[in-house]
Symmetry: C2
Subunit: 667 residues, 2 copies
Amino acid sequence: MELTINSHEFSLSHNGHIILQHNENNPLVFVGVGEENVEMYRGNFDIEDYLIERVKLDLTVIEQSNSVVNLNFDNQVEIKVSINEDKATLDIKQINNALNRFFIRVNSNKEERFFGLGEQMSYLNLKGRNFPIFTSEPGVGRDKTTYITWRSDVENKAGGDYYNSNFPQPTYISSNLYFLHLNSTAYSEFNFKKDNFAEIEVWEVPSQIIIEGGNSYFDILEKLTDYFGRQPELPDWIYNGLILGLQGGNERTFRLLDETLEKGIKVSGVWSQDWCGKRVTSFGKRLQWDWVFHKEMYPELPAKIDELHQRGIKFLGYVNPYLVNDGELYKEGKEHGYFATKHDGSDYLVDFGEFDCGVVDLTNPKAYDWFKNEVIKKHSIDIGMDGWMADFGEYLPTDDIKLYSGRSAMIEHNNWPVLWAKCNYDAVKEDGKLGEIVYFMRAGGAGSQKYCPLLWAGDQSVDFSLHDGLASTIVGALSAGMTGCGLSHSDIGGYTSLFDNTRTKELFLRWAEMSAFTPVMRTHEGNRPDTNFQYYQDGDCMNKLARLVDVYVMMKDYIKDIVKENAQKGIPVQRPMFIHYADDNEAYERQYQYLFGPDVLVAPVHESEKTKWEVYLPDDIWVHLWSGKEYTKGTHEVDAPLGYPPVFYKKGSKYQSIFENIKEKHA
Amino acid sequence: MELTINSHEFSLSHNGHIILQHNENNPLVFVGVGEENVEMYRGNFDIEDYLIERVKLDLTVIEQSNSVVNLNFDNQVEIKVSINEDKATLDIKQINNALNRFFIRVNSNKEERFFGLGEQMSYLNLKGRNFPIFTSEPGVGRDKTTYITWRSDVENKAGGDYYNSNFPQPTYISSNLYFLHLNSTAYSEFNFKKDNFAEIEVWEVPSQIIIEGGNSYFDILEKLTDYFGRQPELPDWIYNGLILGLQGGNERTFRLLDETLEKGIKVSGVWSQDWCGKRVTSFGKRLQWDWVFHKEMYPELPAKIDELHQRGIKFLGYVNPYLVNDGELYKEGKEHGYFATKHDGSDYLVDFGEFDCGVVDLTNPKAYDWFKNEVIKKHSIDIGMDGWMADFGEYLPTDDIKLYSGRSAMIEHNNWPVLWAKCNYDAVKEDGKLGEIVYFMRAGGAGSQKYCPLLWAGDQSVDFSLHDGLASTIVGALSAGMTGCGLSHSDIGGYTSLFDNTRTKELFLRWAEMSAFTPVMRTHEGNRPDTNFQYYQDGDCMNKLARLVDVYVMMKDYIKDIVKENAQKGIPVQRPMFIHYADDNEAYERQYQYLFGPDVLVAPVHESEKTKWEVYLPDDIWVHLWSGKEYTKGTHEVDAPLGYPPVFYKKGSKYQSIFENIKEKHA
């Protein structure tokens, strides 16, 4: 990082690219005052700002001593820029306390690309668009031109848009080889619409911005995860096969497990989301949000888990940080005063869709400990669970909620998923089970890198739509990877079935064939199991699924190594092609292809009724997994019948024998 | 108007209500700089602003001499406030030339109501919402929750929203009994969302704001139309019956006229929109935009018009200020250089939906005169026309268009409908036909009051939807009336049929029964005549229509008097109940009822499948037109079968015999 200053000008550069600057024509900082209006409906937020003032600041005083520069802007804010090799830390001090809006410009140009901002489901390259950062439901449809989005908007305010995400994070990586992190959990926007600058808006004067340059994407990813922490390796049992999402009580769940095993489908674990009981709403089958095993549906569950363990099969459950107000745990929590309240002290209940829940106040250390010890440890870990979906985290309301921390809900909102992740992390860590137990989350924020061992891509629609179907999970995994979360996976076949949109066998199999080339394979029956395709209804599908799971299991040694690379260096398991081929323009343009580790290139078929698929291959010799045919750099059309996704490995890979064995057995 | 000033404070009051103020807690003026991005697609505008700065100004110098106060705001802008009795004129001087955004706050409170802003189709009371002022297509559907709006948005960017209007005008009337007019044609927004102030945003520093108080709505409407001018009286022939919208060439048009007359339907005129020829597009039947009578479709049209005149029937045509690039007039205009061009001098053609047109540069006096003389006079007036639809005016593009005036298209855009109205006005006036010829327009702006003798409500959807169907024409007429345009009417049965939405007989008749209580009755076959209900297909409907037209004709003496009141004092023909009942809260709340002159109250049935209808009657004795039953103040349910709209007249009205005759003949 290089600093240049003179009397009233300032610039910060990396490798000859200006990142920040202030001079007569290029102001750096604007400040202002706004009045926001934020309304939540079931995790979907309607956010409006009335911007009362926004003022460009002059740089009035510059002082330098060694590698630290103090910049005073009109006596409104002061920024101390400290340089340490490739890292610049901007410590920002608010002088005028009336300010609640802060804007900083980052120099850019038309060609620059930006990646990350957490798990972005629609766009990997962020240039040209504006991205609000506020964790929420991602939306059903997420594309205002589709019927499903429109119906979701009209009926549930739930259509969403390209930027809505369970896991947005104010951190990006630039193609000019640096990362920038806004150290604030306030609502923010990253506006990349302008050619010559990006503008970051924050609804507070943030305390800090971190910028760190590198000499490659690898270098930057390593530095970024040095800062945020890294996801640990996955336990070995993950690679034994598929995690089966089943529900419906003891009899049904374990009968379907047996039927699955009988068909030769390798199973690593059973994931039972309704271990705690169920609740039927107009949306579909939902759960009893009282995180205790359900004595009628799953009698003697601990003994059943033991029995599974003896068969080499794991058991996973489901928990989230809310408690339904007709449950046992709610009663206990309320007696202790562990729920957030309204400002007048009365109960604050959140509507989760035809049932109401208390918000466990995770900012209260006693409530946090109670949930960690008396809920997660006692009722999940202690009965032998090997993991769970640690769902939600996005629903902290912002209107009239009083938190123990004394901080406003607008500030805690984006922090909530991280607090929630940490609560799980602490429970597992204190029980000595880190690296054994796997909980997976959809919500996230800065810190999820350390506290969340596995992402899942949330609740996709059961279709091939770009913004909310199979394809969106690819973009989600890649952008999360560029934000330091390199372990992600998704519900095979998607989840949300609404407005007569139902899962087909084709969708299920296309999703499964992609999932074989992700770190974890897991099924989900979806929100309306009875009206959607399920693999266990169809013998042919079970055979095909067995084969795909076997392909995944055969890659175990390869996957373990790339998962280790993620744990050690923050290099994501599913990675954009350009991190290996940084000079290849086309490698940046193909957001629906990825490298699965360094040696495998995957181009999932994300449209229906295809038997061929166009693939772009960067400059190497690539061996087509199923035919063994070799390809060089360029665009190629390859055969891609169901079960045979376009997958290539690098010729000469040290794992070549694995891929040859797969071809021999399964081509 | 009262001014109060001290060293750094200022206020302007009327009748004890503060209208404008500046003090420590209530800043008056903000200024700033913005970069807009405006894109047009077929008259629908996508408008986005990047607000770079917005600064609250201090009132630094106040000087008073007699009834003039000079306010200097931070040496950025200066406002000279001149008081003349109930009128305050704010002359605004821009000192800092870099500014292109201006914001002024108007004091308000929760209870205050605002009306006007031109022809607003969705909301009569504007409080609580933000209204951009930029003439455009109003949208098809205009309600994001409807399927038609969504389809229109997706397929044509044409769904629109509550504020989109052909005729928005930056002028409102407050329930605190004053009007405010922003004397600027720049893009502006009137934001009434906040309880305690309204904020007006203008995309220039405007030269002037006029505020004038009164002691009643009547007083204010008279003052408002003193300022803008007034619509003249309608010619007597209007009241002879229905204006028949027919098309399809000589044979079809005049055959349908005869069939209509044979059924006893009184006809005042034939309106032939395709006198100039037609063009079939995917939207439906459209016109040949070359404003010359079509020699094949209407051979010897002038002689035909003569013949009609001898039968006591008028003939109306159609003109708009664009010329299709394959027409004769385009060729002539282009030779003279009368079209607006791109900045590089090349042709600027506008896509009007599968055909392209030149924009006659009305800011060029020669082009203006040419269009007035060689197009309107020569080809319309001289062949004997008695009127025409003077369509469009909203489509001045803003991206790369060079105008003779040298002013930017962003400034000329809102002025275009007024220039267009004036061009018609001058043609008619110079030919000595003011008060004889009636042209009717949908587009408008400040000045339409004088230059446009009759509004029509634009292209409603053929349905009962609140925001784009029958009901919306009521709100449109009432808000236009509150902006000084008290003569409006609409296409009986609506116009736009898309996405399988088609006109029913019921809709046609409900619309016709309302139109009998508006100044003008006129039919339209719509954009897809063949697939929509037409009155001439159905004998029963023709009988019912004949009866409704007769009701209208029987009211001639009454209607003439209320039209005269509009011409003399600016009191609209269709008027909100509250202008007569200013203290009646409920009278403000019912935007789908109106007074038709002082003595008739109309509550059109604007939903389908109704036989009864709820009516609110203010404090008087009201006689139900069809039953003669008397009602007093309150909410009543009355019978409202097809053909018998809920209409009441004031007991003791001097026109009572007219209404009694109608009852006798038609009840």
